[in-house]
């Protein structure tokens, strides 16, 4: 299998409609016949990243690269950046607003869930410039 590259724009603002990019990626991974557990883990990571981009950064972009051995998801936004990454990685810590909480988000589980379901996770963030979350999910051979 050659490397497959996919790009998904994530629109900001509308939390109700969020999840479209993740849904599309999941469908593609299914069509490629990847293992169910790999698809599930990649989908959870992508969805959490997508929700974060909508809540905190007015959207962004997700680039997905699928190799025979791994899926690499790179989620980039031009939002406010994360002041304290260590704090943001703690379960239960959230800066989400009231609207997000009313919809069932803002439980402070987004980044921890990405960490939990990925094999590798990197956060590159600059205050006032944006954040890139890169996730690797290995595909068992």
């Amino acid at each position: 299998m050659e490397t497959i590259k996919l790009v998904y724009p994530v629109e900001g603002g509308d939390l109700i409609e969020a999840g479209e990019a993740s849904s599309k990626m999941k469908l593609t991974l299914k069509k490629l016949g990847l293992p169910q557990d790999v698809i599930r883990r990649a989908s959870i990571c992508m969805y959490e990243g997508e929700i974060n981009m909508v809540i905190h950064a007015d959207g962004g972009q997700a680039e997905v690269e699928i190799d025979p051995g791994q899926i690499r998801i790179c989620m980039t936004d031009t939002g406010p950046g994360i002041p304290d990454v260590q704090q943001a990685m703690q379960e239960g810590f959230s800066t989400a607003g009231q609207t997000a909480r009313e919809l069932g988000f803002g439980a402070g589980m987004g980044l921890p869930n990405i960490k939990r379901y990925s094999d590798e996770m990197h956060i590159d963030t600059q205050l006032g410039k944006g954040t890139t979350v890169t996730v690797l999910i290995k595909i068992p051979q």
């Binding site: 969020a18 849904s23 698809i39 989908s43 959870i44 969805y47 069932g104 439980a107």
Partner: protein, 110 residues
Amino acid sequence: MTVQQAAARLGWTEFHLADPERRVSGGYAGDLLSWVMGRAGQDCAWFTIMSNQNVAAVALMADVACVVLTEGVRPDADLLRRAGEKGVNLLGTAEDTFTAAVRLARALEE
């Protein structure tokens, strides 16, 4: 046990059955979506009172077998539409979450 069998046995209302033969292997109860995403097991029945359309997206990503709206909560038109689009099994019961979960657990043990 399949979703359809569980629905028939436990008297769940079928709002949308996209995959009736999907197997149910456990349950998870929760309303905080990210918490559900992180903790709900694959192929479980997810009991919740949340009924906005994000429920369908979370069910799809977490790969649960079905969503069961408890306490008599009904899906709004947007959730029904999204469940249809995403192929999510969406059911409901008038029972409270605890009772519904206990009854499923007993049915799965038999």
